[in-house]
């Protein structure tokens, strides 16, 4: 499976790194290629999921991917963007964004429609490109970890988790057992908050705001628990290289074990409402179907992939601590519609609560940090973490306590092209619903 492709440039020389993973659950492996001149062979010719990343490489480093099927600029917005032509009687275009009607991230959607039916959707992103990877280069490891936690705010825990695991692998650091469990608790709280929010937001875009009103409250309860336990609602900068920045007090353990089952009980009432509301079912079942074969070809992970037959979850398949504590149940459906994407999240909500309770039950005593070694030699490490929208891959090169280079691959790189395919033949009015059920991120892949 294709995982990521990224590059580095040093004067007239370039190096391109390619990460791939074998089917059946192995950690990603990285191969590197020194470019010839500024050229390298395009992987996107064979793996369409690599095309956007190669376009980004061309923009960021001035390297050229030979044979790249779509060489248009991606992150570089200085020239006029040529959208793909759509030709046919009665076809017209609807441009949307980058500033949207709702409070969401900026991006441009170009719909070509015939009547109400979407013939083609093209997404154009890059609006939130802020040079994060460039800023990380040369920074002390701790500062770079804070930047990693701001690649995508909704996944700040998962990003910090992935980044520090890559650093710790590079430096051969073993973190204390208490730290490992606390990291797992934070990661599952983050998943819980996001899934509660998404469940509500998807129903809202199907014209059913009642579940959104309750979903938003459930999300808020989780954020307040996170703030009470770890001192920050989104738990930013709580996972740090070598350990965690805050401890969990005994009282907080009790608060979590009391509150989470109560939230789950409220959630089950929403599930019942979702199941029994025919008008809502009418909107979500069969809408925005992503074919499993396309999900596989485009490398979709997370709830989107699992709703379209991709039986993969990094917590189970690239097993990492603390997820050896419970057998991870991976919900997998083949219907690939909005409904399936909702149902994957529902199963994962229950699983996250079970995981947090089990982790609290085994929380060992001990220190919170292992100091990083004063090791000047250049090393590299990588890690994969299952965030709420899919697997996040992190690769880092460290040298003398500083980051020499890194790459953080968001699941959204694979979700946007899949959304373009899934939306074809749906009506314009169902786009917000389909889009929300994918919930692809912008900042995460604009980098």
């Amino acid at each position: 499976m294709f995982v990521a492709i990224w590059a580095e440039r040093d004067g007239d020389a370039g190096v391109v790194h390619l990460a791939g993973r074998r089917d059946g659950g192995a950690a990603a492996e990285v191969v590197s290629l020194v470019t010839s001149g500024l050229h390298f062979p395009s992987i996107g010719r064979h793996h369409p999921s690599a095309i956007l990343m190669e376009r980004a490489i061309q923009d960021l480093h001035g390297l050229i991917a030979d044979g790249l099927p779509d060489p248009r600029p991606w992150l570089d917005h200085r020239s006029t963007y040529e959208f793909k032509p759509v030709i046919g009687a009665g076809v017209h275009q609807i441009p949307v964004g980058p500033v949207h009607a709702g409070t969401i991230e900026p991006g441009h959607f170009r719909f070509s429609v015939n009547g109400e039916t979407i013939v083609r959707l093209e997404t154009r992103l890059g609006y939130t490109h802020k040079g994060t990877l460039g800023l990380m280069r040369g920074k002390p490891i701790n500062q770079a970890a804070q930047l990693a936690g701001r690649v995508s705010g909704d996944s700040t825990v998962a990003y910090a988790f992935a980044f520090v695991r890559a650093v710790e692998q590079a430096l051969g650091v073993v973190v204390p057992p208490r730290t490992i469990v606390l990291r797992g608790i934070m990661a599952e709280l983050e998943r819980l908050a996001n899934h509660f929010g998404d469940l509500g937001a998807i129903c809202n875009d199907a014209g059913f705001p009642l579940i959104n009103a309750h979903g938003a409250v459930l999300r808020e309860r989780v954020l307040r628990l996170s703030a009470a336990c770890f001192g920050h609602r989104l738990m930013m900068d709580r996972i740090v290289p070598g350990g965690v920045a805050v401890d969990l007090a005994d009282g907080d353990t009790k608060a979590l074990t009391t509150a989470l089952p109560a939230l789950l009980a409220q959630f089950e009432r929403l599930v019942e409402l979702y199941d029994k509301t025919a008008s809502l079912q009418d909107r979500v079942v069969g809408t925005g179907r992503l074919d499993p074969a396309i999900a596989r070809r485009l490398g979709c992970g997370g709830p989107v992939g699992r709703a379209s037959g991709q039986d993969f979850d990094a917590r189970r398949d690239i097993s990492y601590l603390p997820y050896d504590i419970l057998p991870i149940v991976v919900p997998c459906f083949t219907s690939g519609d909005v409904d399936a994407r909702v149902r994957v999240r529902m199963v994962e909500i229950r699983q996250s609560v079970a995981l947090i309770l089990a982790l609290l039950d085994t929380l060992p005593d001990g220190p919170l940090r292992t100091p990083l070694p004063d090791d000047a030699s250049p090393r590299a490490g990588s890690a994969t973490v299952e965030g709420f929208r899919g697997d996040i891959f992190a690769h880092v090169r460290v040298s003398d306590g500083h980051v020499a280079g890194s790459f953080l691959r968001d699941p959204s790189w694979f979700l946007w092209p899949a959304l373009e395919v899934a939306i074809e033949g749906n009506i314009v009015a169902d786009f917000p619903l389909c889009n929300k059920s994918f919930n692809a991120g912008y900042s995460g892949c604009d980098l």
């Binding site: 500033v99 409070t103 490109h129 460039g134 929010g197 409250v217 703030a227």
Partner: protein, 168 residues
């Protein structure tokens, strides 16, 4: 009737000159109207949010303002879909080069008078991205800021405090 109409056409106009109103009288009337309007309408602000390159952390907390616990709209504050309907432009992010034009266009599309609220460390100071060549720096480099609400991200209570202060 015809005769009366024809006579009217040729006769001098009956309508008199408008009464003279001094500038002071005019100002007093305008002031009175303003105060009355302010009393009735001034307790409400329509907010248009623009993400100018944030990590989306600020957006999450702005969205949370609409949940039942914070209930933003009870304060007369409403997030609206179009800049044409907005009194307040709420901006997050370190203003990426790729969002600079969209931000200033959104500001220009708003009717005056208008306020700009910079939300989050990135919008206020550039935050961790201040040194990035891909970013403009702060929101203040593109549109004039009236209120700053720092934080990474500011929590909903902090946001509410800032927004309520804007109305008083």
């Amino acid at each position: 009737m015809r005769r009366i109409l024809i006579e009217s056409l040729f006769r001098c106009k009956l309508t008199e000159q408008p009464p003279l109103i001094t500038d002071a009288e005019k100002a007093a009337l305008v002031g009175h109207l303003d105060r009355a309007a302010q009393r009735r309408l001034g307790r409400s602000l329509a907010i248009r949010e623009v993400d100018a390159g944030s990590c989306n952390g600020c957006e999450l907390e702005i969205i949370a303002l609409n949940n039942a616990l914070y209930d933003l709209e009870r304060f007369g504050l409403k997030i609206v879909a179009s800049p044409r309907h907005a009194d307040v432009l709420m901006v997050t992010g370190p203003v990426t080069r790729n969002m600079r034009d969209a931000l200033s266009l959104t500001y220009e599309a708003m009717p005056a008078p208008k306020f700009v609220v910079a939300v989050g460390d990135c919008a206020c100071t550039g935050g961790m991205f201040a040194q990035s060549p891909a970013c403009v720096g702060t929101v203040g480099h593109v549109v004039p800021i009236d209120l700053r609400i720092p934080g990474c991200p500011p929590d909903p209570t902090t946001l509410l405090r800032g927004l309520i202060s804007l109305m008083t």
